[in-house]
């Protein structure tokens, strides 16, 4: 197993790429990309079976970024893994770039399904998990949701489906940073108690600190052992995590760093360290 310090370092590299590409693009979703960086690092550099040289490898584990607006964290991890040249990150959101504002699976290798309209990814992840089971392929499907996203009714349709069909090769993760565009989730439309809701829907629910790499790794391993039901990891996170000026601020949901903010961010993230 790769050690925890390696995964932490990868998460730091992801955050650096995220702020750089967003500042270059001049628009995009900073807060929710940074809050998910540790989870995504643990998935791609530790947990998931995948092959950047063969993105269509039939036995790969699948990752569905249901919170598609966090595209920068996905693009960062795919480039760090070697799915495409890191230079491409600077084309984010530009005309003719395969790095669309929200992920498009037809334009970029490694993106499993197009997402961006919230609430749709969990259903797709269910379908993938069912398809893999039907084919006898022992792969797992991971689906990352936003917490504001679970206000969408389709999430609860999919939550029923996953439990009804006992989709135990699925592990969903909620990036629970408690902020959405208009403010705190608890103010905009209360989503609590998340854990109890998913338990009531028939899920195995794990609750962790989504920035504690030991806890993330532990939960992903634990989820794999659970049979007969899907697992939901509620990862408690901080929006904008890693850069003090972005942390816990709803404003940075959909705003990219300015050049000044980028410099502060890179300094805090220790850009230039190996």
């Amino acid at each position: 197993m790769r050690d925890i310090s390696f995964l932490k370092e990868k998460a730091r590299e992801l955050r650096i790429e995220i702020v750089k590409m967003l500042a270059q693009a001049g628009s995009g979703h900073t807060g929710g990309s940074l809050s998910a960086a540790d989870i995504v690092a643990a998935l791609y550099f530790y947990k998931m079976k995948h092959d950047p040289k063969n993105p269509q490898w039939i036995e790969r584990d699948r990752f569905v970024l249901s919170k598609g607006h966090a595209a920068p964290v996905l693009y960062a991890v795919l480039s760090l893994c070697g799915y495409f040249d890191r230079a491409l990150l600077s084309t984010l959101r530009k005309l003719n770039s395969p790095l669309q504002g929200h992920p498009c699976c037809k334009s970029l290798p490694g993106v499993e399904v197009s997402t961006g309209s919230l609430g749709q990814g969990l259903s797709v992840a269910n379908g993938m998990a069912l398809g893999l089971k039907l084919s006898g392929i022992p792969s797992r499907v991971y689906c990352l949701l936003g917490d504001g996203e679970i206000q969408e009714g389709q999430i609860w349709e999919a939550a029923m489906t996953a439990a009804h069909y006992k989709i135990d090769n699925l592990c969903a993760i909620i990036d629970h940073n408690n902020l959405q565009i208009d403010g705190y989730c608890t103010d905009v439309m209360n989503i609590e108690p998340i854990e109890e809701k998913f338990k009531a829907f028939g899920w195995n629910v794990l609750s962790i600190d989504g920035h504690n790499m030991e806890e993330i790794v532990g939960a992903l391993n634990e989820a794999e052992k659970i049979k007969g039901m899907p697992t939901m990891i509620v990862a408690n996170t901080i929006k904008g995590k890693g850069v003090s000026i972005f942390e816990g601020k709803a404003k940075y949901h959909g705003v990219a760093p300015t050049q000044e903010e980028l410099e502060i961010a890179l300094k805090e993230l220790g850009n230039g360290k190996n």
């Binding site: 039939i58 498009c104 699976c105 037809k106 499993e112 399904v113 197009s114 997402t115 961006g116 309209s117 609430g119 749709q120 990814g121 969990l122 259903s123 797709v124 992840a125 269910n126 379908g127 993938m128 998990a129 069912l130 398809g131 893999l132 039907l134 084919s135 392929i137 009714g153 389709q154 349709e157 999919a158 029923m160 489906t161 009804h164 069909y165």
Partner: protein, 327 residues
């Protein structure tokens, strides 16, 4: 883009030739035959399997059938995921719920991902009957036609339905097939070969040509018989494939016509009539009248009464031709 013609040669398709049968019944039969031939075919339904006739498949292949309950949005997403692992999902429910309730899932998850999902919706149009406006899809063809990558098919009879469903299974990409509840007569000839993007011409008329699909093809053929007997040279073409539209055949028909009439069991806004009007106005301007539901909701009633009530009959076509054909 995959194949647009069927090479699977299912013997059972030819058994549906000449049968007077609801297109949904033909779907139910064909799906089972496809399931026997291709283990990748999976079927999803949203608690209407007895009405959509996917129940036949569910009984034959329970491990490949997913009842999603009353949740059309989740059904389209799940179908997308299944397609992305190499399955060929057929997702069925009533046309209004498939295309209306789950429109955005079809646009974002299915089509933007170019997922190989087949949406076969039954209970299209006014002939749903007694259930009334909430269950009568008069906008579905329009809603599906507007989405990039989507193929839109409205078969006219059981034989054509069986072929269209089989072709859809072999073609790679999203397909919408609109079927009906009511029993329809056999219309397509034995040597008919459905192809995506191809219209079938019964005859090209020198005066009038009627372009129809679905249940209105039968009315168009009746109308043409009446008009031809009265000396108005009238042709009929089956444009079951609304998208992609057979522009070559449409152009040839338009060139020969003094008047074109479209006939569909759908709103005149956005469906076959609109598709034809769009093409003609840009490429071959000819007088055009559209028969369809004129920007209103449906209502409860016997389906045959409703066709008369909304002006969807051979008589309405004949009258429209006589009022608009300049001698």
């Amino acid at each position: 883009m995959g194949k647009t013609e069927c090479s699977c040669a299912i013997a059972e398709i030819s058994e549906l030739y000449g049968k007077d049968m609801a297109t949904r019944d033909a779907y139910g039969i064909t799906l089972v035959e496809l399931g026997k031939k291709n283990p990748n075919i999976v079927v999803l339904d949203a608690d209407l399997s007895c009405s959509t006739k996917t129940i036949n498949f569910a009984k034959s292949f329970p491990e490949r059938f997913f009842n999603m309950g009353v949740s059309e949005q989740d059904m389209m997403g799940t179908a997308t995921g299944l397609a992305l692992t190499g399955k060929i999902p057929f997702a069925s429910t009533f046309a209004i719920f498939a295309t209306g309730r789950a429109w955005e899932q079809i646009r974002q998850s299915v089509c933007y991902s170019h997922a190989n999902v087949k949406i076969v919706a039954t209970h299209g149009g006014i002939t749903v009957g007694e259930d009334g406006a909430t269950h009568q899809a008069l906008e579905d063809v329009s809603l599906m036609r507007v989405i990039p990558c989507m193929t839109v098919i409205v078969p006219a009879d059981a034989y054509e339905t069986a072929q269209a469903v089989s072709v859809a299974a072999e073609y790679y990409g999203p397909v919408y097939i609109r079927l009906g509840r009511a029993k329809v007569p056999s219309l397509m000839p034995k040597d008919y070969n459905f192809q995506i993007g191809k219209a079938y011409v019964f005859k090209i008329g020198k005066d009038v040509n009627i372009i129809a699909n679905g249940i209105m093809l039968a009315e168009a053929l009746k109308a043409s018989q009446i008009l031809n007997e009265e000396g108005i040279d009238t042709g009929v073409a089956n444009f079951s494939c609304v998208k992609p539209l057979d522009e070559e055949v449409l152009y040839n028909i338009a060139k020969a016509s003094k008047l074109i009439v479209t006939a569909e069991e759908h709103s005149i806004i956005g469906g076959l009539g609109s598709a034809v009007a769009e093409f003609l106005s840009e490429n071959c301007q000819k007088p055009l009248k559209r028969i369809g539901v004129r920007d209103t909701f449906g209502c409860s009633g016997n389906w045959k009464e409703l066709l008369k009530y909304y002006g969807l009959t051979a008589e309405n076509i004949v009258q429209t031709v006589k009022e608009n054909l300049k001698k």
